[in-house]
Symmetry: C2
Subunit: 399 residues, 2 copies
Amino acid sequence: MDNNQLIQEKVSQATAILNEFDIDLWLTFVRETSLSPDPTLELILGMDMVWHSAFLLSRDGQHKAIVGYYDAENVRQTGAYSQVIGYHQGIGESLRTLLRDEDPQQLAVNYSTADVAADGLSHGMYLVLQQILDGTPYSGRLVSGERLAAALRGRKSSIEVARVRQAVHTTQALFDEVDQFARPGMTQREIADFVHRRIDEMRLGYAWDKPYNPIVTCGPHSAIGHAAPGDVVLEQGHTLHLDMGVRENDYCADLQRMWYVLEDGESAAPVEVQRAFDVVFGALRAGEAALRPGVPGWKVDEVARRHVVENGYDEYMHGFGHLLGRVAHDGATVLAPRWERYQGVCELPVEAGNIFTLELHVIVPDRGIMSLEEDVLVTEDGVEYLSDPQSELRYIRPR
Amino acid sequence: MDNNQLIQEKVSQATAILNEFDIDLWLTFVRETSLSPDPTLELILGMDMVWHSAFLLSRDGQHKAIVGYYDAENVRQTGAYSQVIGYHQGIGESLRTLLRDEDPQQLAVNYSTADVAADGLSHGMYLVLQQILDGTPYSGRLVSGERLAAALRGRKSSIEVARVRQAVHTTQALFDEVDQFARPGMTQREIADFVHRRIDEMRLGYAWDKPYNPIVTCGPHSAIGHAAPGDVVLEQGHTLHLDMGVRENDYCADLQRMWYVLEDGESAAPVEVQRAFDVVFGALRAGEAALRPGVPGWKVDEVARRHVVENGYDEYMHGFGHLLGRVAHDGATVLAPRWERYQGVCELPVEAGNIFTLELHVIVPDRGIMSLEEDVLVTEDGVEYLSDPQSELRYIRPR
């Protein structure tokens, strides 16, 4: 099965990453993951666990799992673990025994102050783990697995790239449908309802919360940000903006597209609308040119941000880009300024295999927002677009 | 809106619970909740947050939130917070200021070694919080909010009970459709595919992972536990068992139903099949009779377990019941034995307003599993069934 192949691919990638970072053992320790998921688990297992479960990835490639006996057979069937131990009453003794056998010098666990995707160990489970390890040497050998998690999640495998590419393709086709559907006089909600109906008909998922996907911004009177589509009406002379992404086969797209609603008699957008488009498009291109392996994320943001400000617009109050994968905000490295809330992740270097969004906006007074977003794959020597970048404003003509 | 009403209902319930447990302030501290959800957040907010966000519920009922400015308007619209602060670059200063104003003597946060539903604070976010509180008196005033979370989640409000009741109703109707659909010669997978098609057509969700919902157990050769339906064929003379629940309007059902496939010429199940049904049904009734407010969970399990063992069957190697709500395993109190993996939650007392599953199984050699599960609401003086309990074996007749 494709899913098992993906899990096997990621788990064998983890073996290489453990060796690269010189860590002996990487423990993912979870329980009731439908309530309390660990982002790493979906990469190395791909299913929910009910009882306390331990997944031990080893630098020698002999990966082991200790899980409730009801879950053991499902874990075996992934083909990713050389040993799966199913327990009945409690995990403590099995885990201590296995650690004694492996005797790791460093035991990486999933916590991180900076990277949410590397921070799947709850504080309560951290305390449970300390209780289990009490009196063993391993309680003193716990280290943060954040570099491991960032590498494993951030460096997309071939199956992962193919899946994001497909989600991008589907999302772009939906934008084309919006071309045909949207007309002046419609509300934000009517446009969002249309998109929802189509996504549901295709039995696809949403890259983020459905009520805010798509975000639909019509003209100058819509709230900007993560707002739910409401009763604002699409009017001639205004911009229309959609921020949207499907989740298809567990992987996401995250794209923004721009329209201008022509006035009667107009055949092109007014100069200030066109100029805003050109500046946003230019800033995306400038940022893209700075995006290559080894560059810290904040430097990419800085190039795009400078382009916006030097052209006389206010700077955007968010990051220029984020990783994209199983979720829209896929953890670790961000292309974002060195603000408090980005500390620890905006300094991380871009790596080949990363898939980033590139996005920013400016405001056109009395017209609305101008905001674009593309999805790109970082290669060894630059960038490959997964989306067909919007290089021209799209027009909506009154009927 | 119904959802905002539900959030307001739960948040005002939280005010009463803070007073009951004599805690000044309850902090839910999260970031990127689509990757790292806190189970408490869905009760007190009902949407995802992107940046670092703090929700402070106070015993005086003046609840406050500090969130990224893009998310602020959505939080205001819940109507549950008297103040919503939207920040631009970082949450630290606003959070310290608000805590100085409130000056709580105890600051409850969401960690728990025993209760996964009360353990939404990641270890990394615990460390971030310690950094923010460093040098203030509040770093020394953190306490586990597990009693608050268990009470808020476990005591279902009227809207929550109505929603579970609806999910149970829908799930029961699906079992009736299986009556019509299932025939000897079908595989587990065919039966599961039928259920999936129906749930997807109704645009409903799954109370747990779709690949294991329904669990379909056919005769003596199916794996028991959380196994995905496979190629085992439903045969005459065997039992058929489904464990299934829809998620409807954010609330879940979790039910098990039993069929026997009649042999040619048979008009009833063989005596050993009927006897197993009677013992399982009797054990559920015995457990139900022990279920009332104030009783610790393990004592309820003990009554049901004893009924099974005294009738000569092996004891079931799981708990007799769990809470049910937004997820199938809804945290806190379990009706389960005092095994290591249930420590800390099987001792908790049953409360009025709790919704429990009651479930257990025995094995009938050469025939298959016999397993039932019902959903019940605990009232002030006993139990109200939300499901129509299966009191007779259902039959599948060969065509």
